[in-house]
């Protein structure tokens, strides 16, 4: 009947008989539920019954926890709701498992891989067995093994659906640690980097969205952030989301002209028929106009920020309230206007292989000015990945500066980053990155942001490694890059799944193959844009559907690897 967000304290008043807790199996949430249950007024009538629904699986650990708190018996039903893959758009599925990367790569806990495999089995039940499976990485291997085993154990699941997918490509996130660290430069990517897109919704500062009413002096400025939904159902958004941000302006201005012209048509409508037609178009035109207004505002917001960081837009502040009161003028004053581009310049230097073996001045300056810690971590990790690990002296230098500036407790986070392979000492004394970069053509000097001809436009010069691997798999195949594949972590493999005879499809000439790319550990919007670019290429030959454990950006990703430094509220 009603849906409330889980919060500690007393449960809200509601005249219902049953209360169902619909949660992911996380221990922190169990504490909140315990609090809710204990505070329930047992004397009230009618008494309310409690049930708990775990998504996607029940967790014995959670139930044990509830038992120890003494509330397990309060639940009449304890069930699970197997929601593994959630469709985010016509070509995008995500498990939204935030901890998947940390669990798989730091803790060797492969539960999320098990869910991935189950999700894939469900997908195959609906869309047909996928005849070819390619993969790169340890986790990819596990998922493929699980899929094969699951298929063997449930032979009844053989179905008679024509396969929609020709190929499944499983990729470990740690095969490409570089891409999520770089700042995304597509329209959707930038929105996510700056404001954070949650479940296709974004919350934006309201000032630019206030309706301009005639006669009102703008005194009633909205204080609530403006919430917008972003997906391909919105025509304009579908058109600009994957473009490089520098190409968005021209699309918006063209659209503005078209819409203006369309509204002008009302002056040309003479006959009743023509007027009727115009009126019938109105809702669509109004929607288009409102969509244009929203995206023009968003583009302006992004423009402001990419040319001048302001205090409000720094969503990744990692400084406690006590510190900001005073030391603000010292640590966090209005950062110089060119900062976004300075940051980008350093990223691009690293990605093109320049000076990755020394301490970088810009990074040092940022530490000295106490820029948000996550920004620093992204940069030093980027340098480390582009150098196959940092020289011990350089690493120690960065670590010392970070600990002295942000606090010694961050030793724990730095340790996690090392374990994940993001910030580590160079062990072999060899830097493989230049070879990988050259062979896979990861750095393209002559990138065209307006009319791209290559996926490198999504980072204005850097082609995402993961997407290159997908691209090369389709054509000419991975055999051509055997040497480079060996330099990347984890095994690469191919499996074939038997299709019942009669279902083996022969693709018509000119018909595209469909490949499902599954990123184990997270995927960025820029990578999604790059794959969509490949899909719509003439003579590309392959269309892509994307699945992942989580939609990420560099900030959310690094954050998931940081130690929680605040003690839990309970």
């Amino acid at each position: 009947e009603k849906m409330f967000t889980l919060k500690p304290g007393r449960l809200p008043q509601a005249d219902v008989k049953n209360i169902i807790f619909f949660v992911r199996p996380k221990l922190e949430l169990m504490d909140i539920i315990t609090d809710n249950v204990l505070r329930e007024d047992r004397g009230r009538s009618p008494q309310r019954d409690f049930h708990i629904l775990f998504v996607p699986r029940r967790s014995l650990l959670c139930e044990q926890w509830l038992k120890e708190q003494g509330v397990l018996g309060s639940f009449i039903h304890r069930e699970q709701y197997s929601l593994d893959l959630i469709p985010f758009d016509g070509d995008l599925l995500s498990m939204e498992s935030e901890s998947a990367f940390k669990e798989c790569y730091l803790e060797s806990d492969q539960t999320s891989l098990y869910h991935a495999a189950k999700g894939l089995m469900t997908l195959q039940a609906l869309y047909g067995t996928i005849p070819q499976i390619f993969g790169k990485g340890e986790c990819a291997r596990h998922v493929a093994n699980m899929m094969i085993r699951m298929k063997r154990e449930f032979p009844g699941s053989q179905n008679s659906i024509f396969p929609v997918f020709d190929t499944l490509l499983l990729l470990d996130r740690n095969v490409d640690l570089l891409t999520p660290l770089a700042t995304q430069l597509t329209y959707e990517g930038l929105i996510d980097e700056i404001y954070g897109i949650q479940n296709t919704y974004v919350k934006l500062p309201p000032e630019k969205f206030a309706p301009k009413k005639q006669g009102e002096g703008g005194k009633d400025l909205p204080t609530e952030p403006k919430k917008l939904q972003l997906n391909s159902a919105e025509e304009l958004y579908a058109e600009i989301r994957d473009k490089n941000f520098n190409a968005v302006g021209s699309v918006l201005s063209k659209k503005a002209k078209i819409i203006s012209a369309a509204f002008e048509e009302r002056h040309h409508a003479k006959t009743v028929g023509e007027i009727k037609q115009f009126v019938s178009q109105l809702p669509h035109m109004q929607a288009a106009r409102s969509s244009l207004a929203n995206h023009t505002s968003i583009a302006e917001l992004i423009k402001d920020i990419t040319s001048e960081y302001s205090l409000n837009s720094l969503t990744n502040l990692n400084i406690t309230r006590c510190e900001t009161t005073w030391w603000t003028s010292f640590s966090l004053a209005k950062i110089a206007s060119e900062d976004f581009f300075d940051n980008l310049t350093v990223e691009q230097e690293f990605m093109s292989g320049i000076d990755t073996d020394k301490v970088n001045n810009y990074i040092e300056d940022c530490i000295a000015q106490k820029h948000p810690l996550i920004k620093i971590l992204r940069l030093v990790c980027l340098q480390s990945v582009c150098n196959s690990g940092l020289k011990q002296k350089v690493l120690d230098h960065y670590k010392r500066e970070i600990l002295q500036t942000y606090g010694y407790e961050h030793i724990l986070t730095l340790n996690n980053l090392e374990k994940a392979g993001l910030l580590k000492p160079q062990t072999s004394g060899r830097n493989n990155y230049p070879t990988i970069r050259k062979t896979l053509r990861l750095w393209m000097d002559d990138v065209n942001e307006q009319n791209p001809n290559d996926i490198s436009y999504v980072y204005s010069g850097y082609a995402p490694l993961s997407v290159r691997l997908a691209q090369l798999l389709a054509r000419p195949g991975w055999r051509s890059i055997e040497e480079v594949l060996k330099m990347l972590p984890g095994p690469h493999f191919e499996e074939r799944q038997q299709l019942p005879t009669g279902l083996q499809k022969k693709r018509q000439h000119g018909e595209n193959r469909v490949t499902l790319v599954f990123f184990l550990g997270g995927v960025t919007y820029a990578e999604i844009a790059a794959l969509r670019f490949l899909s719509q290429m003439e003579d590309g030959g392959t269309e892509y559907v994307i699945a992942t454990t989580k939609l990420i950006n560099g900030t959310s990703w690094i954050k998931s690897l940081m130690e929680k430094l605040e003690p839990a509220p309970f």
Binding site: L27, R57, R58, S59, L60, L61, Q64, W65, H77, R78, E79, Q80, E103, E107, S108, D109, Q110, T111, L113, Y114, A117, H142, M146, G156, C322, E323, T325, W326, W327, S329, F330, S331, A333, K334, A336, D365, A368, K370, D396, K399, R400, E401, L403, Q404, T405, Y406, G407, Y408, E409, I411, L412, N415, E563, L565, P567
Partner: protein, 407 residues
């Protein structure tokens, strides 16, 4: 008797198990009801009963005696794991021998379901001697990782540390123990705890950081106590003018240095709160020190102190200005603190790169510097152009004119 035992067993299952999607419900006549109709015949129904997903409510429709399994006590490890993967509650007590337990564990690991692995581990943790558990896990990496994760989540610190020590993962022991300091709110207790962490087997680099952490907190406690006195006594001007809005406890080193440069700048090296003492104790590099001191003194508008920071006397007694950071940075910080143009100008003049110097001088209206620089460059055109940027009849205009005349 056997018949009634079976009936009782099947009833127990009905009570234990919750509703299950995989249930095959069968009516009294043997016809399946419910969603799935894939097993219409009696024979295939009996086949299905060996598949772990099925339960039936009619005791006499059970399959032939030959295939009979006691529902609650004869599931093999493999089947038990299978049942647990489907979320069914299973009692593991019947796995009594070490051998059985290990087979169960290996089956769980092979099934990849973390939930099940954890559940089995909880059981083993309870029913095995620690040394045996550790020894067996040492050769089972996946299970080991799961147990470690579980112990961390459940906060079983002691067992976790014992396990890590057994595995000789000494650095992890150290870090894991160090992590606990975050749960200690009381400063004195935290300080004690950190002291205890120093001897732990960290890497060489990390050991020095932990040592620093302890030393820093120790200092902060002393400074905090002292300063609170000073504040309440009301004698110190700087504390009166700029009352402290937050405590210095648990702040990072650089923040502490800033604080010290702000409130205790003139103190001799001997005191705990003096900046020079902090610099020496923590080996703070010159660059960082100068930057921090500059920011603090600039905030207090103590321009003389700023001056002294950059002035060095050589052996002949001549002073000259030097900075371990570029002077353009100095200018930036001064400007952010609204330094008056006369002060700003001094430092703009010292910026080495000509283009940067001109940019900054123009931006911040340091007319003298602009003029001097163009003079040095012998740039008539720019100098003439700059005239419109200065006030008519001002000293600057005169200066420009005089230079132009003498070029």
């Amino acid at each position: 008797l056997k018949e009634s035992k079976r009936a009782v067993n099947s009833l127990r299952d009905i009570v234990d198990d919750d509703d299950d999607d995989d249930l095959e419900r069968v009516s009294w006549s043997g016809e399946p009801v419910g969603r799935r109709n894939k097993l219409p015949s009696f024979q295939s129904l009996s086949d299905a009963l060996s598949d772990t997903g099925v339960k039936n409510y009619a005791p006499e429709l059970r399959r032939p005696k030959a295939e009979y399994k006691d529902y609650s006590s004869d599931w093999s490890p493999k089947d038990t794991v299978r049942r647990m993967q489907r979320g069914k509650v299973c009692s593991l007590e019947r796995f009594r021998s070490l051998q059985d337990k290990l087979v169960l564990l290996d089956e769980a690991v092979a099934g990849h379901d973390g939930n099940v692995i954890t559940a089995v581990l909880i059981f083993l943790k309870r029913t095995l001697r620690r040394e045996i558990l550790f020894r067996e896990l040492e050769v089972r990496q996946v299970a080991l990782c799961h147990l470690i994760h579980f112990l961390k989540e459940a906060g079983e610190q002691k067992l976790l540390l014992d396990l890590l020590r057994f595995l000789d993962r000494t650095e992890e022991v150290a870090l894991s123990q160090y992590r606990e300091h975050l749960n200690i709110q009381d400063v004195e207790k935290r300080r004690e705890f950190l002291k205890g962490c120093i001897g732990l087997p960290f890497s060489a680099e990390d050991t020095s950081h932990i040592q620093d952490h302890y030393t820093l907190l120790e200092r902060q406690i002393i400074i905090e106590a002292n300063d609170r006195h000073l504040e309440t006594a009301g004698q110190s001007e700087v504390f009166r003018k700029y009352p402290r809005k937050a405590s210095i406890l648990n702040m990072p080193l650089v923040t502490t240095l800033f604080y010290s440069c702000f409130y205790h700048y003139t103190e001799a090296e001997g005191t705990f709160s003096s900046p020079t003492n902090l610099k020496k104790t923590f080996k703070i590099p010159d660059k960082q020190y100068v930057l921090t001191a500059l920011a603090a003194r600039a905030k207090l508008r103590a321009w003389d102190d700023v001056d002294a920071l950059f002035t060095t006397k050589n052996w002949l007694g001549y002073t000259k200005k030097k900075a371990p950071i570029g002077f353009h940075r100095v200018v930036e910080i001064l400007q952010r603190n609204n330094a008056p143009v006369q002060v700003l100008q001094e430092y703009v003049r010292l910026v080495e790169d000509v283009e940067t110097r001109l940019n900054l001088a123009t931006k911040y209206k340091c007319h003298d510097v602009v003029i001097e620089t163009y003079k040095d460059l012998k740039d008539r055109i720019q100098l003439t152009a700059y005239k419109c940027k200065v006030e008519r009849g001002s000293a600057e205009e005169e200066k420009i004119n005089s230079i132009l005349n003498n070029m």
